[in-house]
Symmetry: C2
Subunit: 514 residues, 2 copies
């Protein structure tokens, strides 16, 4: 708060101006009422402010006394004067009105696309935040109740102590070398061989999509995309001006034959898919389908963006090796993340690609934000190196498998006739399909009234479609609530079938769609 | 390392295949020699690997024994088998050759621009990393020797303990609310009034440039830019396809009259400038010039991107309030960062803009990387709230002022005739201009031979120009080395004047240009 500037009119009473103390008081009142000064903030010491403003110290003290008397501030002897926790309900003193600059005409095409997309999504799939009594299958995120927070805290504390100075300075864009070396070994578990120079550290999968899109896509380019698919990937490709060409899923993954037919008519710049732990269906592409897909892509020289989600989160049989493991030519770009198995809040992921492409992606990363926090990278590296990730993985996999099994059992028991769903083999969710002519958005409105939430499926489809589908994420729902949640959902579906009209509801804050 | 996959040919000896143990051994040797398994990595337990591969445990043990015998691994009784720290100089066994995919034809226009820019810059301003005996004025970064690492460690440790679970989960894109409230108060010190809903948290200034560019610029748009200017901002605007229109600096800042003349002929989408602590010159735009610039921009409805660098780093007179403080219409976008005053490695900065623009920038941020790590945001918030930033600020400002004064004194004493320089009023650097017809790149080659480094100034100029200039950053040079560094520089300038031809040098790893 040191160095606050308050414009003072020093002409004094004779010019009809309020005294200086009053001017200071009014200025600070306005700052508080506009929340420019937050509750609890310490005001500058009277001596300091007096010096900065070039006034007598008693003038400032007088202003502060008035602020305290009116309830705007509180004084603590020996500590100073603080903004009150509850400001008095003063008359709002809005800042002087000026013709506001209208940004609408200044937005880039990309910004316009993003906004249109956001509006469309808000129109149909705004899901409320967790609230007491609400069972939410909407999340798609790991359960923070399972986080190994304390173990991570200890590792992080140690890392700053040992390497803090280097890790808090600027750092090369490619990432913390020991983490990239660790990842080379970690990826072998999935059958994926990657040298450290084929790995770029990024801020979660999301930045992976972004860097790939800006490095490969020009406005008007086509992108082939598995349907249904991850909405945030769809949004990124669109934001870079791409036209999306959906390819249906058959047998648990993108249908290679449909892709091949599409390639006879169109020349997409890349194809995007999630062969394992597919979001939203939870399905895994069988090995022969992966092989066929890779062959089609290689034959047509079509780059493949393979979103790995998290290869360690599988239920039952282990998924086949990633497409990237088949990739002798170097046309697959693999994206991985620690957001699902560890902490989303760290924003830590990686891209595996041919070295010449990694070099380009690294330049884009360098211009985007210079580098990912090396402190976070080093902490996760040491967490992994101490086998704490392995231990955590085993623990959460058991718990997520349990929740997935409970969900499948409850669906089998409670869903009305005509409702079907995918048998999730990995990841955090599955996709439910409602009977003909039903609409998941209508069901959501009923469901919220019954205290259960989910994500309507149309978010996962390109340009409409999927209205009959909905995603249930089981990862963040306590096991004890799953059956009750499905019971409420079944009831909501029955109700929506009887009364299919929409209910108008107030908008509420939404959860991020992941 | 759990779950390593090794493809085995189980037809056995009769088919002429090596025994399984040998196949396992050869596979792991290849992984090690290709650095897919890094030195020190623990190999899977024999029991685990045997189970994963469906072979007898003794088969795996036999393979491991051979690896140890050949020096590829070392065994520690009771702990397991580890990749050796020094792999034997085995014959390189490259992966089977395949026609490599050629990415060149697949790159976006943006990627091509970025690469061309990077090549051009490498051609003239690659500056070596700090080395023993080298006095480097090249950095442009805070001195990590002054970092309050330990105080930050304690705050971070406390934050994870108290709020870890929420801070490690997904988070709203706009940022940690208490930090945005704190910033509202912090910015008042610079005379800047911003409500929390006018502030977006980003990954350092760099992501600020990126989000602004993608939200406002389409390929072919014009951007007016102060010259000289910050190279990374230049690069970002170019990467989004903008054409740059340089506007000269006069009287310590962008020349409003030149801008106005430019606006008669061209319609740039925005103007970019650094009114305080200008990088590279260290100059500060005087208040009347700020006022004129703002008036020109407002009259022409020209958005202003004001890079605040760090308003607390000034020497001598305090700089006037930012342009954003004059901005009643809401057309100034202000970028701030903690990278200069605290830690670059955290990647933490902010944008202040009109709420309707902040909303658009937030959508772009959401698609770029969802959000900035809330853990880092909360730690910095608590660090600030405990007044640790204020204390640190006072301390480093004293030290940087001392170094700046030493540099100015040494230049005055030692520079040959005809050399001039800016009197840095803020930030980390100043700009030296060499006599007519000299070239800073030639001087750099001589300087490196004498053990002193700097950044050639052409990096700060759009499309050539500035060949006679060079940037000296004093922030990361210990006070005791400054005079000696300037002495060496003076000698290098004299030498280059006598022998102006270039020396060909080996390429060395470079420092990031900030």
């Amino acid at each position: 708060m040191a160095g606050m500037r308050i414009p003072l009119d020093r002409r004094g009473d004779r010019a009809g101006r309020p005294p200086l103390a009053r001017q200071i008081q009014v200025h600070i009142e306005r700052l508080i009422s506009q929340r420019l000064l937050a509750p609890g903030v310490k005001l500058p010491a009277t001596r300091e402010l007096a010096r900065d403003l070039g006034v007598n110290r008693t003038t400032v003290a007088l202003a502060y006394d008035e602020l305290v008397a009116a309830g705007w501030a509180r004084a603590h002897v020996g500590q100073g004067t603080f903004v009150a926790d509850q400001a008095p309900a003063a008359l709002e003193t809005p800042r002087p009105a000026a013709p506001r600059f209208d940004w609408t005409g200044f937005l880039s095409k990309s910004a316009q696309v993003i906004a249109a997309d956001a509006r469309r999504r808000q129109g149909y799939s705004r899901v409320p935040r967790p609230a007491p009594g609400l069972i939410s299958f909407a999340g798609g995120m790991p359960d923070s109740g399972l986080f190994p927070t304390d173990a991570f805290r200890r590792v992080l504390n140690r890392v700053i102590r040992d390497e803090g100075r280097e890790l808090l300075q600027y750092y090369p864009a490619r990432g913390y070398a020991p983490l990239r070396e660790y990842l080379a070994g970690y990826l072998l578990r999935f059958g994926l061989e990657a040298r450290p120079d084929e790995i770029l550290i990024v801020n979660g999968s999301q930045q992976g999509f972004d860097l790939i899109a800006r490095t490969l896509l020009d406005p008007g380019d086509f992108v082939a995309i598995e349907q249904p698919s991850y909405p945030r990937a769809i949004q990124v490709f669109r934001a870079f001006g791409a036209q999306l060409l959906p390819v249906p899923m058959v047998d648990g993954g993108l249908h290679a034959e449909s892709l091949e037919r599409l390639l006879e008519r169109q020349s997409p710049k890349l194809v995007y898919c999630q062969p394992s732990a597919h979001n939203p269906t939870g399905l895994s592409m069988p090995a022969p389908v992966r092989q066929r897909l890779y062959e089609v892509a290689a034959r047509h020289r079509l780059p493949v963006v393979e979103d790995g989600f998290d290869g360690t989160l599988f239920y039952g049989e282990r998924p086949p090796a990633p497409l990237k493991a088949l990739d002798r030519a170097g046309l697959v770009v693999y994206i991985g993340t620690f957001s699902k198995i560890l902490f989303p809040g760290l924003r830590l992921g990686w891209i595996v690609a041919a070295p010449e492409l990694i070099e380009r992606l690294e330049m884009a990363k360098d211009l985007s934000d210079i580098h990912t926090s090396p402190l976070i990278q080093a902490a996760v590296y040491h967490f992994c190196r101490q086998r704490l990730l392995d231990r955590h993985q085993a623990r959460v996999l058991r718990e997520y498998a349990r929740r997935r099994n409970l969900l499948l059992a409850a669906l089998a028991e409670r869903m009305p006739d005509g409702v079907s769903w995918t048998t999730s083999q990995g990841g955090f969710s599955l996709l439910v399909t409602l009977p003909e002519s039903m609409d998941a958005v209508v069901v959501l409105e009923r469901a919220l009234a019954h205290g259960v939430a989910f994500t309507p499926g149309n978010a996962f489809f390109v340009d409409g479609g999927g209205e009959r589908t909905l995603r249930l994420a089981f990862s963040a729902v306590p096991a004890a609530q799953i059956d009750e949640g499905v019971k409420r959902l079944a009831e909501s579906i029955r109700e929506a079938r009887r009364q299919p009209e929409r209910i108008v509801r107030d908008r509420q804050p939404a959860v991020p769609l992941v």
